[in-house]
Symmetry: C3
Subunit: 460 residues, 3 copies
């Protein structure tokens, strides 16, 4: 039926090496992390059955396939049989909670509704209905992950006779925070694309671009115009670069970083020193969360961000006036530690003076972009105060509110990403400082118009 799945798998490392062989590799070359493995898995290559028959009792999507108990959706809990360490690390990542962090936060639910809800135009006013599940799956949850629910089992007539298949709502989806039919969270195949599972893919920036390219989080776009990407694009293809090597040796296997180099991979020097340990908890190397909500802030402690309350009681890591919800965020000491881990990667290629100069500038940009967000927020607050905008129906539906959102979600973020990864114009004219400084003027013009309308209404 699906010939390419088999062909893909047959190109994979999984099809050529058994877990037992994988475990015998020297530590730095090892790609599995299990301590113990049921004997039946040890000495066979990892084929269809090994993943899709695993843990059938935990899987609500298990069905009968010619006598075998098979499930459609392979989950991190399945992968963790051989890769428990990576799975555990990933679970401490914001990404593993990406579904709930969005869906269970009432502020973000308001944003989602304003974005995805079906519009109604009545009495010269617009209202937003509740977004339906298919729309959410097709938009936010495409990356954040859907909730996979087995609705029912249905009979389909196949070449080998009638079969019962689970009908799973929210499927297909490979979002990083997917809620799975075995109640686990996440999807390893978001980055480790099935069924070839090439580490080469996870290490190339295209993988990250699937979720990190829009104006809210333009990481890939910024990276793409950086010197780093320039080197990769110019020199990596058809050359002696090796995207498959484990460990990944700077200067030998590659001479410029991709996303994975700085954020995830085990990086070594040609003489075998570890420059950075592999981590699937990406924030291990991140002192700041530059994605502003609504200001950039020290990284949250917990992967589950719904527990955060700012000083005004809102589930946001900063208050509207900029005060961080400090107890939920990492300390300055922890920030320093994480910065040093990241700087270790930089120092594969850059001297300390260079690296410190870069980070000083970057942290200054966090401050100044937060300042510009603050000024836009003052205008917004004034509009709410003077009833030129309605804070109660939603924070995010009206024209002026949308502009305010763009101030931090688009322009603040873009400028910070550009600073972090040296993607020049994304800090200026491409959704950067030009817009950061233009947008408050537009907000102010709109505010003046709305104030006049309110005044006229009153005087009638």
């Amino acid at each position: 039926m699906t010939p390419n799945i088999y062909e893909n798998w047959s190109r994979s490392r999984m099809s050529r090496i058994t877990p037992a062989q994988a475990k015998e590799k020297p530590e730095l070359e090892r790609r599995v992390s299990y301590k113990e493995l049921p004997e039946k898995y040890q000495n066979v290559v990892v084929g269809c059955a090994e993943c899709h028959n695993m843990r059938p009792d935990q899987h609500k999507d298990t069905f009968d396939h010619q006598g075998a108990r098979v499930h459609t959706v392979v989950t991190p809990a399945d992968c963790a049989v051989c890769h428990p360490f990576e799975r555990e690390q990933f679970s401490r990542n914001l990404m593993s909670e990406a579904h709930g962090n969005l869906e269970n936060n009432p502020v973000y639910a308001d944003l989602t509704q304003s974005t995805n809800g079906p519009l109604t135009f009545e009495n010269m006013a617009l209202s937003h209905g509740t977004p339906d599940a298919q729309t959410s799956a097709d938009s936010c949850l495409f990356c954040h992950g859907t909730r996979l629910t087995v609705e029912k089992f249905e009979t389909r007539y196949t070449d080998i006779g009638p079969m019962e298949f689970p009908k799973i709502s929210g499927w297909p989806n490979q979002g990083v925070g997917r809620i799975n039919p075995d109640d686990s969270k996440g999807s390893c195949s978001a980055c480790h694309t099935r069924h070839e599972f090439a580490i080469e893919m996870a290490r190339k920036p295209y993988t990250c671009s699937e979720c990190h390219k829009g104006p809210d989080v333009p990481a890939y776009k910024v990276y793409k115009v950086s010197k780093h990407a320039n080197i990769v694009d110019s020199l990596a293809h058809g050359k002696e670069w090796d995207f498959n090597a484990v460990p990944w040796t700077a200067g030998e296997d590659f001479t410029a970083p991709t996303c994975a180099t700085c954020h995830v991979s085990l990086v070594t020097t040609p003489d075998g020193r570890v420059q950075a340990k592999r981590t699937h908890q990406m924030n291990d190397r991140l002192a700041w969360r530059i994605f502003g909500l609504i200001y950039a802030h020290a990284h949250p402690k917990s992967a589950d961000t719904t527990i955060i309350k700012n000083k005004d009681g809102l589930p946001l890591p900063t208050a509207l006036d900029g005060t961080p919800a400090a107890e939920y965020l990492i300390s300055e000491k922890e920030q320093e530690k994480r910065n040093n881990t990241m700087k270790g990667v930089c120092q594969s290629c850059h001297t300390r003076g260079w690296v410190n100069g870069h980070f000083d500038r970057f942290e200054h940009t966090i401050e100044t972009t937060n300042h510009q967000t603050g000024v836009a927020t003052q205008i917004m607050a004034r509009a709410w105060e003077e009833k030129a905008a309605d804070q109660n129906d939603s924070l995010f539906n009206e024209s002026i509110e949308r502009r305010w959102v763009e101030q931090w979600l688009f322009y603040g973020n873009s400028t910070r990403f550009a600073s972090a990864m040296m993607g020049a114009d994304y800090g200026v004219f491409a959704n950067g400082r030009w817009y950061q400084s233009k947008n408050p003027h537009d907000m102010l013009e709109l505010l003046k118009v709305k104030l006049k309308q309110a005044e006229d209404k009153e005087s009638k």
Copy 2:
């Protein structure tokens, strides 16, 4: 004079194989489709003369070149001598009529004038003049195709003495719907780039990006952040992928699709089954036209869309209230057939449950995006009704009208392309649902201002 033309050609398959040899290939490997061929063409490779001397009497651009009757512009009618089937299929494609579909539709001519016409500012009002031919050739017709007209013959002094060359207005141009000096339509070299004519190029997405990247039709941008493109970008270069193989075998020659795979190519399985027949009538696999005019709709029956009239008499496939011009559009049964053809391609790599889940979600998105366009259109209609905008001078010139156009042309289209090809953020923050839901608010604010201005004017 132009050494690279020869060099290019010498790398081409055309320079190494005669039409007779090409015809002897097994059916699935065959790249020519002629039944009969004049004997003089059969046993020579296809060089300069074979294409540029062909059918001289039909070509108004024929000129004398050292005794030979040569023409500059090689047309689909020339190519059809060896490839009649492909040319015939292509003629049933909207693209082959792209020139006339734009130029001969008064609604689109209005849009073109509002976009390209030289502006005049007088008495606090702006007006749009008629766009000139060079501007049209440099913009819309770059992709849609110009009309090539032999203006005159002029003498140029060359290394081999004075020669008469045709002066062709509209030249150069390689648009898919070009009107040629032999009265044929289209340009094969739009995709099959001269003079190497590599099928590899037609199969790579960069070719399609030349016309399908802007905010009106962001197919390439969306594809680029999809898992499909991620696999191609990560694994196809310098690998065992073969972009030249005919037939094109999924899992063997490639493991992820490009534009051509899904829309055009002959795709087979490793055991030789045909997964999809080659078609140059791309809509063979397209149930819907997701390019909204102004709503997404069942694909038109005729390649020439100027014949369509909606219920209000406008040459548009849907009415402003959303009613499709049903008699000009394919039936639900035909839609199902085309969907099944496309699903056949998907099933090279995906199970039926996956594919159906994807298509259900996609068709739902067609509905919801059409709904959001409908709401914007209600606001627009209100503005016209209340004379806050002038429907009579043009549908597309004023500020509020431009926003309305962007609702369907940019945001509706972007959201649907993102859904069709899994390019997440193009359905949300990158010209997707965020703008689809923000734009009507902006239209409404503008409408209120214009109504007040009208009221003030009246009260004076």
Copy 3:
């Protein structure tokens, strides 16, 4: 400490060939241009010391490194020891003056302040403070180049004991117009990425994209959807293309141009004729400056553009009414000469009729885009005249002024780049003519609102 620097260098040509050997190459293959060279440099490969110890007395950043007098920043004056001709050419390039051209022009300083200055919101008005140095370095000067100033020397404790390092403000930076610690201007490594210095990189378009991608100067984006880039992207990787060959032979080493081909490289034909001489004064082949300030204009004569005064005394190459500051711009005759040089490159692959058709269309687009800028400027002038906007505080801070800037800086430029390099949609819907014709309507709406506000204020 930084293992990759060494690894990178060891892959470079510099590590394998001595200057004396480089000089012995046949003229067309030669990559050095020195006439005489101190003997100590002649017969050793160019390693760390050769560049970083050079000219220590001129370098304010010289410090003591285990007895050697080393400097951090290698400058064009250092490179010029072996490559004097290239350095001299580059110095006649606008880019080499990019720092001063921006920083020493009061009109652009106004633009910079409006973009980068910290905002204050008070009494329903917004004001822009002076941008700080770190922000400038992180934005405009990232490409234009910072001023590198040795602030002090500080002791750092290294593996080999305490050392004194210079603390350089403005560092790191690789901008093309950088002011260096030896008072030279520019940075060769902007394009010739250290420490591999591969000509392959300078020739690939990714290098140019680092600075030429934003909406103000979308050269790379436009190129990327052109037929030229399509050929490069489809056929250059893992093929017989040679991006390292000197000279660079059209048809043999490559079959489609990158940025460097048309603007910089020494291009030859397979039979050894020179199609275009190498130039590091890129404007050698440029008749026009299509980057509108505020209109596109004949190229400036002097690399230092701060000397230009238009008829109204402003340091701009054109007046607000479009009159060029003719005495500072090249003559029509010089334009023709430069056009012919560029056309020589085109004619490697295109006939004369094709090339002339292209250039006619392009020059027409310069005219029409200037016209559309003119209309927007009329609206702007009216606003200033009627005090609906304040010309005196800044030309660039208010909402309507920002829209006016976008008319020429984004939409005019984008349309012209699209025309120059055949990147279709960037001339229409992607920041092209659609916006060029929409934006004046938006300006007019805003003007009407501001006039009414002024009127209301007066009547109170």
